[in-house]
Point group: none
Chain length 250, copies 2
């Protein structure tokens, strides 16, 4: 077996599985582990793979995560943001939750939109405040550590006093069977109150989060008016999410 031949096989294996173990390779290629190790060193020196303890990994698999403060799946979230923004019309009262997808929406709102936004998230509020023609109203309350959104009875009370046209919420878990789920009890109650007081509810979520379930249930899918993902609504992965007329996939 030629060295170059092994290299090709190794590369192929990594492209296929994103990783290889030295032990597997030595069995598969019937050479000593040292040889494999030397192969991996060479490929790594050429910058083709990422050598790690016990084997090697795909570089493409590795790098997207490195960008420190980069938002995960930013491109997908931008697509979602632009789809969501199409729902926004002048003079609407819109209620937004927190999270990185919602932040992306807040940032990308066109400057000529004239609407009023309510939010329970200080981050979202500050992002919204960048736009000249929109009104930002914070629903104040106890600031929940970590998730950084206002929660508690005062928030629920405030929410009950306003009638919102469109409510946009992110999601931690979404599945056919369990519907919308989250892991924080306080957050769940805020989201429920948000949904209760809105004419329309839009849930934004990158496709990756689909079919994941968290511990606490928020609502069934039927309580949602729009589900917005970065995928085409006709995508097979989403087919089960919109059997009836509701929710509508965008």
């Amino acid at each position: 077996m030629l060295k170059e031949e092994r290299h090709k096989i190794i590369l192929k294996e990594i492209n296929l599985h994103n990783k290889v173990l030295s032990t597997d390779l030595k069995d598969q290629l019937v050479v000593s582990e040292d040889t494999i190790r030397r192969d991996l060193i060479e490929l790594a020196d050429q910058g083709l793979i990422l050598k790690v303890h016990g084997g090697a990994m795909s570089k493409t698999f590795h790098y997207p995560f490195n960008g420190q403060n980069e938002v995960y799946a930013l491109e997908a979230k931008r697509v979602i943001a632009d789809k969501t923004i199409e729902l926004f019309k002048n003079d609407m009262l819109i209620l937004m939750e927190g999270g990185t997808t919602i932040m992306e929406i807040a940032k990308r709102i066109p400057d000529d939109l004239e609407a009023t936004f309510f939010t329970v998230s200080p981050h979202t509020a500050l992002a919204l405040a960048e736009h000249d023609n929109i009104n930002v109203i914070s629903i104040g309350g106890k600031l929940l550590k970590n998730s950084n959104i206002h929660t508690g009875a005062s928030v629920i009370n405030e929410l009950n006093n306003i009638k919102i046209d469109l409510c946009v919420i992110g999601t931690n878990g979404i599945s056919i069977k369990e519907g919308l789920t989250d892991s924080d009890w306080e957050v769940v109650h805020v989201i429920k109150a948000m949904m209760n007081n809105a004419k329309k509810v839009a849930v934004v979520s990158i496709a990756e989060k689909f079919n994941s379930v968290q511990k606490i249930k928020i609502c069934d899918l039927s309580a949602i008016d729009y589900i917005i993902t970065e995928l085409d609504p006709k995508n097979a992965a989403l087919s089960e999410y919109s059997g009836n007329e509701k929710p509508l996939l965008l």
Copy 2:
């Protein structure tokens, strides 16, 4: 399973859900909890995640305002912050305004202080939320562009319902003759409401701002309990500011 592979999975999980529990991860990845913990320590050392008791969470979600924004006269503001913090005691209800000096105070609060902070500023709220033992309550309302503080009738109403031990406000103008002044009508009314509902009022200001006057009057100096600057209270530049027993220079 390669270590790096686990790291990728953990990062992905965090990016997806903003947080992970060690217990969940050890089940998902089928390794001991020690291994997970070591993984989290490594990722945290690399600055990729934020380790918390019981698991880890997303850093991007937590520290939105990283670096970049330089603060004018930072050293002076730190001195002011440390002086101000001496007024804070456990179990106090403290009300804070917004502004860079106030932000510096919020950041430098010792982690063992157990108190409740109210604020009308989303920035201040987020900075306060970094400390474990303090309660943060946002007084919500219309978010005023540029100054980024909540204003309007709802804020005044809320403020009138709480009795604060200490109110800390920044300043735009302070002078012997005109007292405390500001340039924004809405902000002035919020500050007045803050002062009305506090037992003690502290004004923080870098020395540079002394003897400056803005268009709208907030109050006379006699309505202030403490004036806190970066200078020694005995400094000649301040001598006229504390003729009587009030305000007290710190």
